[in-house]
């Protein structure tokens, strides 16, 4: 008998099951848990709620009417943060010609590799050299001011992690109310998950620590500054 069998046997014995019984086919049933609904009042504007929650988390907020304005906001951030090198997601929202043209005109160096296969060490070293990372949130949560990023080809984990500043563009149509709504968007089982991303990251505010005398320090490992640019009216595709 190996450790697995011994542990499972002890658990079954401890739960006073018949030790010889084969595991059942279906999963144990239980009464449908009533999900507690979001605390916010109905009719609250999701964009407003999201932006307010972001501010509470010390995230810098920007709004744009359309992609062109989002590009302007982005360039404004690049200039005011005196950014020289950026690292971005490869994503339709960021590839919008209005956005892309403005980034190109701003003369920052884009370190993002545009090749299909790249040695991971080289890829990460590039991301680590950037002053600022740009992503486009797959979802956002109004309750908590949370950005939800799915990993995939073109959507690196490094872009929102290694550079000291992170800018996320958030099409307003992707703002959900809260966690419960997000959970419905996640893969329901492994078969589905295998076809999708291996990592989902929920980002709320900046990297921070209070490990030294409980005093708050931002940017201890991840970005110490986070900007969101919400595009209010967008034809950006749903993720």
């Amino acid at each position: 008998m190996d450790d697995r069998e011994r542990i499972l046997t002890r658990i079954r014995k401890g739960l006073e099951r018949d030790p010889g019984s084969a595991p059942g086919k279906g999963m144990p049933s239980r009464p449908e848990a009533k999900q507690s609904s979001s605390a916010a009042a109905a009719g609250d504007d999701l964009v407003t709620r999201f932006l307010e929650a972001c501010e509470r988390e010390s995230v810098e907020i920007h709004t744009a009417a359309d992609a062109a304005e989002a590009g302007d906001r982005l360039v404004g951030i690049l200039e005011s943060s005196r950014v020289e090198r950026i690292f971005t997601w490869i994503d339709p929202v960021l590839a919008h010609r209005e956005v892309e043209a403005r980034i190109r005109a701003s003369h920052v160096v884009d370190l993002t590799p545009r090749v299909d296969h790249m040695d991971q060490d080289t890829f990460e070293a590039l991301a680590a050299r950037a002053d600022l990372g740009i992503t486009a949130a797959d979802w956002a949560l109004a309750d908590t001011g949370t950005l939800v990023l799915f990993s995939s080809a073109g959507h690196s984990r490094s872009a929102s992690l290694l550079p000291p500043v992170h800018v996320a563009i958030v099409p307003a149509s992707r703002i959900l109310s809260g966690l419960e709504e997000l959970m419905e968007k996640l893969p329901s089982d492994a078969v589905e998950a295998l076809k999708r991303e291996s990592n989902v990251t929920l980002i709320t505010g900046t990297s921070k620590t209070a490990d030294i005398e409980l005093s708050l320090v931002r940017g201890v490992h991840g970005p110490g500054t986070v900007h969101v640019i919400v595009i209010r009216d967008t034809d950006a595709s749903q993720p």
């Binding site: 542990i7 739960l15 590799p113 991303e197 291996s198 990592n199 900046t206 201890v220 490992h221």
Partner: protein, 468 residues
Amino acid sequence: MEPRCEQFMNTSRKALQDPHLQEALRSIDANLRTMRDAAFQELPNGEALRDQARNIRDHTLEHLDRYLEQLEDRVTQLGGTVHWAEDAAAARRIVEGLAADRGVRTVVKGKSMVSEEIGLNEGLAARGVDVVETDLGEYIIQLACEPPSHIVGPAIHKTKDQIARLFCEALDAPLMKDPEKMALFARRKLRERFLTADMGVTGANFLVASSGALVLLENEGNIRMSTTLPRIHVAVTGIEKVVPTWGDLSVLLQLLPRSTTGQKLSSYVSLFLGPRRPGEPDGPDEFHLVLVDNGRSRILADKAFRESLRCIRCGACLNTCPVYLKIGGHAYGWVYSGPIGSVLTPQLLRDRRCTSTLPFASTLCGACADVCPVKINIPRILAELRSRYADDPEWGPAPRNEQGLFRLAGAVLSDRLLYEGAGNIARVLYPLIRNMGPADTFPPPASRPFRQSHKRKSRKGRKDAHRG
């Protein structure tokens, strides 16, 4: 880690005389506890959520075998590998074996209480693997060669001056005064390690059975680093961390950060669904999940104790406990401290030296149960541990003379004549014995028994009433 619970009285006495520690503990009381309370006041359905969370945890524990098998099945489908470890030694062997087979030289670690419990760092170090703790608090205590003093804030007992000196001595850092400078110094040091490490080791906050997801919460980003940059990700965790579905997870996610730091959500909540897929530019190529029993299935089997396994390691019971807030975490003598430490340590270790001290390190005031997000009745379990210790030879019989004394006390307290007689004897003997023990151990008996003075007062009272 070797338990040192039997030294509880000594270490806690020293803790009471440590002014730095007392200052740090006052700060926990003023900050973490207050922030937790405020977060729950803002949560209108907090009480319902706690009930829901308790039910989720209980349901999972009652069907733990099924959910673990489902989890194993899903993780395997996603391309991960599940390992089972019956005890600490087996868990160490698994991780050490993975490291050896893959020629791993450096490991970056996210904070994991289970890894402390099984002594993983020492095991890897003995095999020549360089292990770096990357949570700032863990990094600090690793440099100081100390165990964590708090489930969530491991270096909470250290002042910034102590940390600054430590950085000077261990890292050749300039002497810094500002916590921000120190944190950013550590950021630079650790960034190099992240980029060159071969393996990342983390714990788990939750495991979702239906999808095979590993869930980790953090504020610093060191866990994201440890799970993004190295090629191998190994998560080491207790078998009790599983929850059935995403919906269950969302209930617990609303409670854990609020209970820990008063945050609505931690800065980073990461969901891991196996190793990276083809085409993904970064993330680990291998994912291993090590499920550690190490005494948990034995706790599960004891109905009086089963609810201990509901714990989600938030630390709220520490931050509110009048005992923890005076003596800090090290006095508890092992990995888990505070009220939940007094519950878990004797059960996980089944060491009489721990059962003889920790369950008694509580006033049973119930503050811990009031804040527990999964409503563990900690005072009841502590009382049960005390009675097992006294009565059950398996848990460590109390010394015979103590049992005799309590039998005598029981007889005296339940018989009026004996009780009054004993009182009179004490009044006569007191002047002779008061200097025998350490100061303050024998408070003087009242000059007149309570019954007498009460009778007198009520007689006087009646007379006064008549006069009035």
